[in-house]
């Protein structure tokens, strides 16, 4: 009885322990999202708290319509969950819907992760400081516009709530673009990765450009290198960047020119992706079953080899055989005993067919079987 109660207590404790975690601490992944993901726990006043994060924005207050614009932010945060996961939004408003920069005329050329999302999740280092950059194309219409940074995270202790922090609005005056301003094509987005070892040129689409120059460096390096560029199609440039391996990331910066203006564009990032996976389901099935069969073959063979050696008594099955044939045994026992065969001659004799007598050797006999001379006992040989 006590044993059952003990087991019941353990099971109940394990079941109750599962109620301890009801949050979603793994994040939601990078994506295009509205403020607080359009209504998550972080936006619910009864479930959320104000983040202690300090958000600073260090970007230009002016932009030219339809041209590239770099938005830089630095977030300092020291109270965060044990996973150190921080979700960061770049927003055009904080209404809960229609907040994405694209809803306000901006186009994201590249986000901090190398893709084109307005929401990214980053792991906060032990210093508690995160610096992020978005490269955007400014709205094509002129006027004043605003961008915001919002963060959301947990703190990782019992009774924790979902935290939310929002920066002050960063005002940007979008000015009319000077006539013939060279820049990226409005619909061009930067490639966010290349496959390991790929040396194919990177295509850059531009407008109002007669020439471009590209400098590149590996992320974290101080000195940049000049890349070779060749003209592709109309408003297209093919940039030859060296292949990257492993998890290395390359940053590059384009200077667009048309003889009248030289515009230095923001740094763009390009990661390295592993080669495309070339497995098939039938290959996987065949390989999986091959492994199974080989393991079975190996162990069956080992079992046969390592089984205990059978003793001689185990191999002698005479008793079982005789027991299984009672009729034959009975017949054999009932049959008359065969007459004993005459004993083989052991004493040489001249009368025997086995031995021959020769006059030349009166004391010997020739053994036809053994083919040798033996003493003739009748002649006194061997005495």
């Amino acid at each position: 009885m006590r044993g059952r109660l003990f087991a019941l207590t353990i099971v109940a404790t394990m079941l109750l322990a599962t109620q301890g975690s009801v949050a979603n601490p793994g994040g939601e992944g990078n994506d295009d999202r509205d403020f607080t993901c359009g209504g998550s726990c972080h936006g619910d006043p009864s479930l959320s708290g104000v983040s202690s994060a300090v958000i600073a924005i260090d970007s230009s207050a002016t932009a030219f319509a339809g041209t590239a614009y770099q938005f830089d932010t630095t977030i300092e945060i020291h109270e965060i969950s044990h996973s150190r996961l921080l979700g960061v939004f770049l927003l055009g408003s904080t209404n809960g819907n229609g907040d994405q920069p694209s809803d306000h005329g901006w186009t994201i050329i590249q986000d901090p992760a190398g893709a084109t999302d307005n929401y990214v999740e980053v792991s906060v280092p032990n210093t508690g400081i995160v610096s992020l950059s978005w490269v955007l194309n400014a709205p094509s219409t002129t006027g004043d516009t605003e961008l915001f940074i919002a963060v959301q995270h947990g703190a990782g202790y019992p009774g924790d709530v979902a935290y939310l922090g929002v920066s002050d609005a960063h005002s940007i005056e979008v000015n009319p673009v000077p006539a013939n301003m060279p820049g990226f094509a409005p619909d061009w987005t930067a490639p966010n990765y290349r496959v390991t070892g790929d040396t194919s040129p990177v295509s850059i689409m531009t407008q109002n450009v007669t020439d471009i120059a590209v400098e590149w460096k590996l992320e974290g390096e101080s000195f940049s290198h000049q890349a070779s560029v060749e003209a592709g199609g109309e408003d297209e440039w093919l940039v030859h960047l060296p292949a990257t391996m492993g998890e290395s990331r390359m940053v590059y910066r384009v200077t667009t020119s048309n003889g009248q203006f030289d515009v230095v564009q923001p740094w763009l990032t390009m990661g390295t992706a592993p080669p495309e996976f070339d497995g098939t389901v039938w290959g996987a099935r065949a390989q999986g079953f091959a492994g199974a069969f080989m393991i079975i073959a190996l162990f069956v063979t080992l079992q046969g080899i390592l089984q205990p050696a059978r003793k001689k008594d185990d191999l002698d099955h005479t008793a079982e055989v005789e027991a299984s044939e009672p009729t034959q045994a009975a017949e054999e026992s009932a049959a008359p005993m065969p007459e004993p065969e005459p004993e083989e001659e052991t004493v040489p004799s001249a009368d025997s067919e086995r031995y021959e007598k020769y006059d030349e050797h009166p004391d010997l006999l020739w053994d036809l079987v053994e083919e040798k001379w033996v003493d003739d006992p009748n002649a006194g040989g061997g005495q």
């Binding site: 793994g26 389901v281 039938w282 290959g283 390989q287 199974a292 069969f293 080989m294 162990f299």
Partner: protein
């Protein structure tokens, strides 16, 4: 439509029963080191045997339901590894069952054969733990093996050409047939 639900159901059953089989086999082996452990060994031996017999047909069903539940099975390293580890699990588990079937419950007291049984049980247990861990990583983003200081690189796999895989399949099948037909004759051991 119900492939995902069925996969969750059958995976839970298959992993649970296979784990029970392997854990019981380990218990049966450990019992040989205790005086008077024969009664416990008899129970554990039967549990391992019966659970293994039930688990083996469930594993291909789990693979099949998983294949139906995915858009591109075998099209990425994680799902490809699931096929490979499913094969390893089936191989180890069937080897353990074959040993028990050939030599009877007395296999646990024969040191060399019981060591083979334990290798099979541990191999199956490790393989099925990895299988479940990959599945959890794919569906939940986290797994039991996350507690390890170094997470194994299951996002890469050993992929051979499809035709070479077929050759390996035939080779394995032939090796298994040869092992059964031409291998040393076996005899049940006294209990």
């Amino acid at each position: 439509m119900f492939a995902i639900t069925f996969h969750h159901l059958i995976v839970g059953l298959a992993t649970g029963i296979a784990t029970l089989s392997c854990a019981s086999a380990l218990g049966a082996w450990i019992s040989t080191y205790f005086v008077g452990g024969s009664k416990a060994r008899a129970y554990l031996d039967r549990t391992a045997y019966m659970a293994g017999v039930v688990a083996v047909p469930m594993l291909p069903l789990a693979v099949l339901s998983g294949t139906l539940a995915m858009n591109d099975p075998g099209g990425d390293a994680m799902s490809y590894n699931k096929f490979l580890f499913a094969g390893l699990t089936i191989g180890f588990l069937v080897s353990m069952l074959v040993g028990r079937w050939r030599f009877g419950p007395g296999i646990w007291v024969e040191s060399r054969l019981s060591s083979l049984q334990v290798i099979c049980a541990v191999g199956a247990l490790v393989s099925i733990t990895i299988l479940g861990s990959i599945g959890a990583k794919m569906s939940l983003g986290e797994s039991t093996l996350d507690i390890l200081p170094i997470y194994p690189a299951f996002d890469s796999s050993i992929v051979v050409n499809q035709w070479l895989a077929l050759v390996l399949f035939l080779l394995g099948l032939g090796a298994m047939v040869v092992a059964f037909v031409l291998g040393p004759k076996d005899e049940r051991l006294p209990e």
